[in-house]
């Protein structure tokens, strides 16, 4: 599974900056991120809690909470800037060509609306289906995501389903209109590994059948390994590394990526007494250090790291593997 049509970009985000109007004045949360997703490609977006994964994706759909706004950058989808579209145009894309699965199904499913109606809504709105056809399609969708007895489930309310089933309903809604792009924000984080494995297999299967592109947001580097074509690692609102999936795990380059990978115990390593770990904690927005945001925790930090911000630069011959780190770039130039 190599990146298919990676050159042909379906989503192309450049210099995206998101700021919050906080109590101590404005603070940058997402700091000039570049992201792109090819047609049919699956992009994994990895990073720790608070690094800006959800806000990046919400900003694409212009669903940012109060006091948080995009201050710089462009986000082209299929050649058109999502941030410049009229609200009407945007509504057509949202839930239509771009399907969404949000982090928390309990807050994003409407608790007082039956599952069937929530599934039919986008079909009627985006695909102009008649009610009866929409219901037929809703049954198909529930079957597609592996929910048993789909006809009866149409009448159920969200609280009558288990966590795993709610998550599958969310995916069904995300897929309702055969989107070109599915954005899934930690769709399995709250679930057991067994249910997670079911959902990952489901999405892989659907992706291969429908040829859609996927952005899968997660903090789990193991989960994304078997799912993504390419992975972007975020730290404190910036992209620190971006690489084809095999490159990333074979040659992790940024000290943060390396530290993360080393600190994850696996089922195959010899179980050692102590885990390798990264000291310190990620900085909060508004309290990020000058220079490289990882410098306070980085074992390789040099003087320049505390003064200047490293740029995301190619580190492989083809240019597909990029990292933002002075030490990595210095080593490359020396070699």
């Amino acid at each position: 599974m190599t990146a298919r049509n990676a050159q042909e970009r379906l989503l192309d985000v450049k210099g995206l900056t998101v700021e919050i109007d906080g109590r101590r004045g404005p603070a940058v949360i997402v700091d000039g991120i570049d992201l792109h997703v090819g047609k049919g490609e699956t992009l994994g977006v990895v990073g720790e809690s608070g690094c800006g994964k959800s806000l990046t994706m919400l900003s694409l759909m212009r669903l940012l909470p109060n006091k948080i706004k995009v201050t710089k950058g462009t986000a082209e989808f299929d050649g058109r800037d999502l941030h410049k579209m009229s609200t009407r145009e945007l509504r057509k894309v949202r839930g239509g060509d771009i399907g969404f699965v949000f982090q928390d199904p309990m807050t994003s499913l409407n608790p007082v609306m039956r599952i069937g109606d929530q599934l039919c809504e986008p079909l009627i709105y985006h695909r102009k289906m008649a009610k009866a056809d929409a219901r037929k399609r809703a049954v198909e969708l529930l079957r597609l995501v592996g929910i048993p007895g789909p006809e009866e489930r149409l009448e159920a309310y969200p609280h009558e389903l288990s966590g795993g089933m709610r998550q599958r309903v969310m995916i069904a809604i995300g897929l309702a209109c055969d989107p070109k792009l599915l954005i899934a924000d930690e769709p399995t984080t709250a679930l057991d590994v067994t249910i997670q494995a079911q959902i990952v297999d489901l999405v892989k299967d659907l992706r291969n059948k429908l040829g859609m592109s996927v952005v899968w947001i997660t903090h789990d580097l193991a989960l994304i390994a078997g799912l993504a074509d390419r992975v972007v690692v975020l730290y404190a609102g910036t992209v620190v590394e971006d690489a084809p999936v095999d490159d990333l795990y074979a040659n992790p380059s940024h000290p943060y990526t390396r530290g993360l990978l080393a600190s994850i115990p696996t089922l195959s390593d010899a179980p050692t007494a102590r885990l390798s770990s990264i000291g310190g904690t990620p900085p909060e927005p508004g309290r990020r250090p000058a220079g490289c945001p990882f410098a306070p925790r980085c074992p390789l930090a040099m003087d320049i790291c505390r003064r200047e911000v490293p740029k995301l630069e190619p580190i492989s011959s083809g240019g597909s593997h990029r990292a933002a780190c002075f030490a990595v770039n210095k080593a490359l130039k020396a070699a």
Binding site: A197, L221, L227, L267, T281
Partner: protein
């Protein structure tokens, strides 16, 4: 395993009586824990794994007598804890501590870190007022926090720092046994490793015994002496760490292990997973016989009729499965 265990859990049962329906008109029973027996050896880390709702926390709570057992015994220092009243239990509380998943909800937001750590020491009369400050500082150092954090409030700390405070507070009682209930599950990956290392260091320093409840099997493999696998309120398998991960016997253990993703793209893509279908059945109405039979890939006729015996397939490797017992699997 010949030494006298620190804790002996015998046929522990816990049922919750709940009311269902919009007006609570229907009484029902949650069979949360059914006939669980295990010994916990001094200085070991015994882990419990299994899907959410399978009874891991209930086991921890019932052992500590934070939930009243519905049946069975928990023997500690010759006493059956399940029979003790709250007053007698207080004598044992000091030895037996618990650390939860969500450190925020277990710390009083109006108490400083120093007060939170000092309180149990004063309560159990483990210090004088004069020594309190030094002892608190020593505990903060033990868990890798600067002593100036004593004057901070919980909301001024990160998740990982709060978890360190909760661990320091548990240590303040000089306990013998700590139940770690998903103690690292809510933490970021880079912080998880720090806290795991801390728990290992403290175990060595103070000869602590852990009941480590977690759902991350890779973490469990890393830190455990023995591992118990639970399914719907019962133990499915219990074995020394390497035996469980290298030669799992119970079909549920095998399925759980095969669902764990690994940081190796090549392997992940080509891996044949044995995916469990469906969700865990409701503990309000658990399946008859072997509770796993509705999802088990090798279920036989007997499985829905008879509860499989809890027996040793090899020395120290216990399992409850008809197929294993009869040598089919």
């Amino acid at each position: 395993m010949s030494a006298e265990p620190l804790l002996r859990v015998e046929n522990l049962v816990k049922h919750f009586h709940v009311r269902l329906g919009a007006f609570g008109e229907k009484a029902a029973t949650v069979y949360a824990l059914d006939d669980v027996s295990l010994d916990i050896q001094e200085g070991e880390t015994l882990s419990l794994v299994g899907e959410s709702g399978c009874g891991k926390s209930t086991t921890g709570f019932t052992i500590l007598n934070l939930h009243r057992a519905s049946g069975g015994k928990v023997i500690y220092k010759g006493q059956d804890l399940t029979r003790l009243d709250e007053k007698t239990m207080r004598l044992f509380r000091r030895d037996l501590q618990i650390v939860f998943q969500d450190p925020y909800s277990t710390l009083n937001p109006r108490m400083t870190v120093g007060e939170a750590i000092g309180e149990p020491m004063l309560f159990h009369k483990l210090t004088t007022r004069a020594q309190l400050k030094d002892k608190t500082a020593a505990l903060l150092q033990d868990v890798g926090l600067p002593t100036r954090f004593a004057s901070r409030y919980p909301h001024e700390l990160s998740g990982g720092q709060r978890q360190r405070v909760v661990i320091a507070r548990a240590l303040a009682c000089q306990p013998k046994f700590i139940v770690c209930d998903e103690a690292i599950s809510a933490l970021d990956v880079s912080i998880q490793a720090q806290i795991i290392n801390l728990l290992l260091d403290l175990q060595e320093k103070y000869r602590l015994t852990y009941l480590f409840i977690a759902h991350d099997l890779a973490v469990v493999r890393h830190i455990s002496t023995r591992v118990g696998v639970m399914y719907l309120g019962r133990l499915a398998e219990l074995a020394p760490r390497d035996a469980l991960f290298q030669t799992p016997l119970h079909p549920y253990t095998k399925a759980l292990l095969s669902a764990v993703p690994e940081t190796d793209p090549e392997r992940e893509r080509n891996r044949k997973r044995q995916i469990l279908q469906g969700d865990v059945p409701s503990p309000l109405d658990p399946p008859s016989g072997c509770r796993f039979h509705t999802r088990c890939p090798i279920a036989m006729e007997v499985c829905s009729r008879t509860v499989p015996e809890w027996s040793a397939a090899r020395p120290g490797h216990l399992v409850a499965c008809h197929a294993v017992n009869s040598g089919v699997s």
